[in-house]
């Protein structure tokens, strides 16, 4: 029996111009050489300690990103998804603040708005679709979107990130109540976002224990309003 082709693919999402963008790379080899595709590659049994590790390595090697929120999405498989044979890809999704994407040293990483994707090879459209569904759904009841912000951010900024992901406005009071309830942020003593022609906003950061873990609400964020 011919061996199964084992790969990982990473749906790397970031926020650019207040909308969700996906990171893509031109494929170097056949099949689909030259086509923009998800960063991915073979699992290296000799060096990877599991598929998560393979995804982290892929992310580092292909995009230069050393730290991101990373979570397993789903495994896609079958005889038809890769022309080389029966293949299996463990898909992960990653969220990074856009500042961490270094366009100087990695000009080959291109960002595309997630609602204007076309021509993706293999079953990458399905994988991206699944990632978007997961991220949108999870954002509606968790702290997931904070991983798209940088180290520090204001509450109005964070609300904007939620709204960009969910695609609809959120009630300000309800939003602040929920975030408070999650108890994952700490105000940075005396640090305000100045320079704007209006009242400055308080800067916050994630509490240490939530750097990699998420917090979940009981009832969701109830957008609209």
């Amino acid at each position: 029996m011919s061996p199964i082709i084992c790969t990982v693919d990473v749906v790397l999402l970031t926020l650019h111009d207040a909308s969700l963008h996906l990171a893509l790379l031109k494929r170097e080899h056949a099949p689909f050489a030259g086509v923009l595709a998800l960063p991915g590659g073979y699992i290296h049994a000799e060096e990877d300690s599991d598929t998560r590790d393979a995804a982290l390595r892929t992310l580092r090697e292909k995009t230069g990103i050393g730290s991101a929120y990373l979570e397993q999405l789903e495994t896609f498989s079958g005889p038809g998804r890769d022309p080389r044979g029966w293949s299996l890809s463990v898909a992960y999704y990653a969220l990074v603040p856009s500042r961490l994407i270094d366009h100087e040293s990695r000009p080959e990483v291109v960002l595309r708005p997630v609602d204007q994707l076309q021509g993706l090879p293999f079953d990458h459209p399905r994988i991206v679709e699944a990632a978007l569904q997961r991220v949108r759904n999870k954002s509606s009841y968790s702290s997931l979107p904070v991983h798209l912000c940088g180290e520090t951010f204001t509450l109005p900024r964070l609300q904007g990130v939620y709204e960009a992901i969910l695609g609809e406005p959120i009630n300000k009071v309800s939003f602040r109540r929920k975030i408070e309830e999650l108890d994952i942020l700490e105000a940075i003593e005396g640090q305000l976002e100045t320079g704007k022609a209006h009242r400055p906003a308080q800067l916050y950061r994630l509490k240490k224990q939530y750097r990699q873990h998420l917090a979940l609400t009981d009832r969701g964020l109830n957008s609209a309003g």
Copy 2:
């Protein structure tokens, strides 16, 4: 490079004596021959059209179950989880009404309460733990538990199933409101569950379109009460 060992494992859950049980099988071959383990096996690239298909085949071959609610759980991997080498297992979980487990023709399938598991081989404890977490979480905001009931059931019975999974009582009025809201059940005209020494309960069944798909609530089922 040595090939990666690709398998599927199925966490098959059912309700027995009003509590969640897991189906286990004695392993026939090394490693862990004779030990009770999750039904699982190699992916057959020649015959399986994807990993879901491999899981369905495994379920059919090892337990005789031809139809169940089946959903991909997570993929587990690494060099240490199987003594034969770097391995990868796509785990699925399945829910079946206990009646579908045919103890006559399959005496080798043993049921164990999920809170009294021990001695499971490989990383099966982790897989089962992940499945339980997923099922409990998903049950709190979806129609998932209906797949543990048979064709027809009463609302008090269904509430009992939710309570068995979630491990806490649910408010009767709230429960009925949520189920009504989900709009997935239809009362079976004139069919009541008789024979009990009290008022008979209305029998319901899943609407056709929800046989395989789930319905989700906006706000969850809010147990306790």
